[in-house]
Structure formats: C-alpha cells, structure tokens
Symmetry: C2
Subunit: 361 residues, 2 copies
C-alpha cells in the first residue's frame, strides 16, 4: 500500500531517560540505546516502524539540540530539515506545538501521528494497522485521537483512559484520563473493562491540534503562533531560539487531552510497553528458573531470585545471595538497589549530580 | 647501621591470590596490587621494608615464570640473577629449597629471612628490629626460627603457634603448630597467652634449613640437592626446568616446621595482617559511620551497613539496601556476595574458569 503523502509522523526524542540511569545517561539516553541487543536502538526501531506506513521524508524527530549528532548518526536517512532541535528542555506541549506549526507550513492539511521514541511494540502489524485507521479517522473529522492499550495487569506505572460510547469499530469517546493509580484502584480499572492504558501516542489533523492549542494553551500559542511566516524558512531556527525557551513547561496530556472535549481513543493490544522502569523491562524479559533476568552480560548466580542484572556486554557478574535487586552497570557507574524501589533512581541521580558532578550523569 | 652482608632475604611472590578474586587476577595477583592506594604494591612494600636492613643485592624474589615481567617492572632495582623463576607452580617447600641451594652456592654461610610478598606490616620499626635480632639468633645456632604474632582477636583464618620454654628475650621453643581453629578454640588460644599467630615468615642459617630439608623431605632434597654444582651458574636454569616440576607439592610448614625438633619462635606485635581475605581487609580499613569500607572508588550508599566496596578508581557505585556484602569489581568481573561467605570465592573462581574460561580468571 502506497504511503499517504498527507500523513506525517513526529517522533519525540528529547527525553533524558533518567529512570534508567545508569544504563541511560544524559549523553546517551534510553531512546538511543539498544535495550535487547537487536542491533537497532529504540529510536531506530520507532523510525523503522513508521517508515512502513509514512513517507520517510514526512517523519520528523524533535529532540534536544544536544542530541543532534546522535540522531544524525543513528538515522542518517534524515535530512537536517527533518530534525527539529529544541534549544532547551520543555515538556511535550511545546514540542508538539512547534512540530505542528512547522508541518502546517509545509503541508497545510497534514494528518499527524505523534509518538514517543522509546517505547516497545511487539505486535507491529496490529500496531501499524491501528495507526493507519487512526490517521484516516482524524483526517475526516476534527477529533483528537489517542491510542489506548488493553491492559493485561493492574499496572500502577501507567495512566489510564476511561472510555465512553463507541463511535466506530475500536474508536471510543474518552470519558476521563486518570493519573497513575494505586494498586487497588488499578485492579478495579482492569476488571471493569472500561479502562485502557494511556500510551502517550496521538493522532490528529494539524489544524485540529493547532486550534486546540490556541483554545486551551493560549500562553503557548502566543509564543509559537506568531512564527507562522518563518516556519519552514531559514529564519525558523532563530525564531525558535528566541521563543521556545519562554514556552510554558506543560505536557500535552495535562494541557490539551485532559481538557479538550473532542478527544477519542483507538483501542488495541500491540505488545506495548513504555519501557518506563527497570521493573517493566524485567517483566518483559525472559527469566531463568529462579526468576532472574540477565541482559547482555555473563553471569554466575548463586542463591539469587527475581533480580535484573545488566552489565556492559562481555562483562561477568558473579552474584551470591541477592533477591529482588537491580544490578546495573554502565560506563563509570554501578547501581545496586531493590528492583521495586526504582522510584529512588531520580534521587540517586540528583545526589550524584550534586555531589560528584556531570561526569556520572 | 650497616647491613650485614651475610644476611639474605627471600621474598616468595608466586601465589595467585585467588581469595581476592576478582580484585586479584591470575595475570595480576594480590602481591602486585596496591591495596590501599599508597603508590606501592604489596611486593614493592615488602622489598622496600627489607632493603632497610638487608643489602639490596642479597634480596631474591622467587616467583612463577609468568610473573617475570611484572616483577621486573615493579622492582627495576633487581638484576635478573635476583629473580628465581619457577617453571611450574609448587608449594613453599620447593620454593624455599631452591632459594636455599642457590644462596648457599653464592654465600655458604648466609643467614636468610624468608617472607611472603603479600602481607601488611604497620609497625615497621618493631618488625625490622625483630628481623635483625632473629637473623642474629639463627646465625649463632642451628635453629629454625619463625615469627609469631601476638593475637589481638580470636581469628579463625590463621594458624597458631603454641610456645614452650623461653630461650632468650622474646625467643621461645615451639611446642606445637596448629591449623586454623574453630572460633571457640581460637578464643581459648587467645586467652591462654600461649598461642601466637603463625606469620609464615622464617629465619635460619642456610645450612640449617638445607640439613632440615635433607632429613625431613628427602624426596625434595633428592630432586634439588644434586644441582649443587650448577646453582649460581648459567646451567641452573635448565637444571631447574628439568627438576623443579618433579618436586613434591608440600608446604614448608607441613614438611619441615611441624616436624623438626629445632624450631623456635620470635614474638612480636607488628600491626601485621596476611591480608588473606576480604574480611581481614575490611577489619583493617577505615569505616564510615555505618561500618562500610570503601576502597579506591566513589560511592553513594543508602541504607547500607558493614559492606566492603571496591571498584576501579574513578568509578562510582550507588548502592541502596545491602548489609554485610562484598561488592568488588576489577577489569571484566563484578563480584557481589556476603562478606562472611568469602570461602565461597574459590568456588566462584572454579565455576567461572570451567564455564567461561581463562578470560575472567
């Protein structure tokens, strides 16, 4: 099937992935890593996936300026015009707003799929079919569409979407977005059949999202809207450098999706994971008889249960008597902590930065 | 005080130090490492120490042929003639026998101190004074002398020497040598005041030890004794290559000291440790308020107590929730195990060698 030239893809690749520190480093975050040793990083996999249904020249990467070289190295197919470099770290709303204005200048009636760069999709065919149908759905109406994932467990690490009435095969109006729930509530969500995981992947027509932004995030629109005449021209870079840093730090979920009244969800089961935590990586990975997960490295494990161990490839870890731990080494940092206390990783990163500086971040 | 030209020192430096794996590696064993970051390895410290009372040219290193380059690199002061290279790994009796025959050929009435290359001595002045007096003691009589250390705790990792009647200031006849005791027995030993740690450091006249060897280890004497005419000549190397591998694998303690009837002990308190185990290193090292010992590396420790952590210098270990563990990384191996289960290290080394080969040993 020929790719629809009206369809665009925006891959968001500016995160620093600190929850996977020290495996993910500020200079080489999660999306640039090949987690499972497949030969392609998560970003490359994301690009490879969308290229099957979106014209390659319509795929844009928005990332932080400090990752420009990494993106070019990993995706040499991209022209410089396809890489939008944020001069400073903001949240997803400014990222998506800029990409939307930029695309509208090139292609005033584009349909866009916006995707994170660091998620895992195991059922690619089903996924791409859902994206195709979703882009068609948003091309025909001024609806904001998000992808909802059928939950297979009461995961407390994800946000949930409650569905309302169906509006077509697999399309539903969204009733509410909810934050990450406590375990008891997550169990109720899953049993109800009404709640789906929020994947953070969106589809819409470029005019629909720009209108929604103008309505719901006027402060943001006031910063980036006036650049209409420079987007897609050599002046765009300077305009962004002057205005992007002044954009409000707000997520697209909080700023738009949770507030708009034209939000719909497409449902599916794609073998999806946001790979957000070591625990999610543990859950996804093959285990030995004692429930240990070993990524990339050699290990000899004695009296060890339910650990996740990752070291630079070729290294050997000999471990005796650990249960439920994460042992992760990368470059000049070794981290050993309880696998279920990984929310503390942000604290470790902050402490490390404060006490020892950037070399270990 | 001028060094006595009749005095020789034999430093035994051929061990592989597997109890300190992975810090100590087959290609770079314990004696070649600078454990405390002082700038000198244990071997270099041993040499530096004896050079203060023994003429430098009278100090010999006996080591395995595979460590020849390491010894020359660490002790460039030594001439090739001062390095005796064992073609194969034997125990201490063949090592000492060869060194004794070799020295007698050069200096027929030499007094010799034989010392391990990998021990720690904190009170150097007291130690050297005891060596001086010991060498004088053995120069005047055909006695085998060993150095006994006043025990400061009921250590179960050392052998003990029971003393008999005194024969002079700090010199006693030895009543028995004992193997490493259980804790209860070790407590009795220490309380009795009759038992001293066996340091594995010996002094004797060259003729005394050769006679003792001929009497108590005739099989060994039969192999190395016939080389009398080649020791100290260019033919020595070939003679050793032919005969050394056929020597019985026996320790000087078991083969001579425990059986001879002319064994004496000189007592002292020298801040001595054989650095035989991670635990002994832990005991000797400065600790943080939670009882953690950190060697060489950077650490951020949370909820950690009584651990010992060593990583390559410059590396950072972030550890949360370990108590009583050893975390040791060197080169391509990381070891995590309970600090008091370190007798298992031999098992780890064996398993690693069997399953993964020499690269990790």
């Amino acid at each position: 099937m020929a790719a629809n030239k009206d369809n665009f893809c925006v891959i968001m690749g500016g995160g620093i992935g600190s929850r996977f520190w020290p495996f993910s480093r500020k200079t080489l975050p999660k999306q640039f890593l090949d987690f499972f040793g497949t030969g392609r990083s998560l970003l490359q996999q994301t690009f490879d996936r969308f290229r099957k249904i979106i014209p390659a020249e319509n795929i844009l990467i928005v990332t932080n300026a400090m990752y420009a070289d990494l993106v070019k190295e990993q995706l040499p197919e991209l022209s410089d015009e396809q890489i939008l470099l944020e001069p400073t770290r903001r949240n997803t709303a400014p990222c998506i707003a800029w990409a939307s204005y930029h695309i509208r200048a090139l292609h005033p009636d584009a349909n866009i799929v916006v995707a994170p760069s660091d998620h895992l999709i195991l059922k690619e065919e089903e996924f791409l079919e859902a994206i195709r149908k979703g882009l068609e759905f948003v091309s025909q109406s001024d609806k904001l569409l998000t992808l909802g994932i059928k939950p297979n467990r009461p995961e407390t690490g994800y946000g949930y979407i409650q569905i309302d009435e169906p509006v077509g095969e697999n399309f539903y109006k969204v009733k509410t977005f909810t934050e990450k729930p406590e375990l008891e509530l997550a169990k109720v969500f899953v049993e109800s059949g009404e709640f789906y995981w929020n994947s953070g992947l969106f589809m819409w027509n470029v005019n629909t999202i720009i209108r929604a932004g103008e309505l719901l995030l006027p402060e943001l629109a006031a910063k980036l809207g006036p650049g209409e005449k420079v987007y897609g021209t050599p002046e765009e870079k300077q305009f962004i450098e002057e205005n992007f840093p002044a954009c409000p730090n707000v997520s697209i979920d909080f700023g738009v999706m949770e507030k708009a009244d034209n939000v719909y969800v497409s449902l599916g089961d794609f073998g999806w994971s946001d790979l957000g935590t070591w625990s999610s990586l543990y859950d996804l990975s093959p285990k030995d008889v004692d429930g240990n997960v070993v990524l990339k490295c050699q290990t000899l494990l004695y009296n060890c249960r339910n650990n996740i161990v990752t070291m630079p490839s070729g290294k050997l870890a000999v471990i005796d008597g650990l249960e439920g731990y994460l042992v992760a080494e990368s470059d000049n940092v070794l981290l050993i902590c309880k696998k279920d206390e990984e929310h503390a990783i942000r604290k470790y990163v902050n402490d490390t930065q404060m006490k020892l500086g950037e070399d270990y971040i």
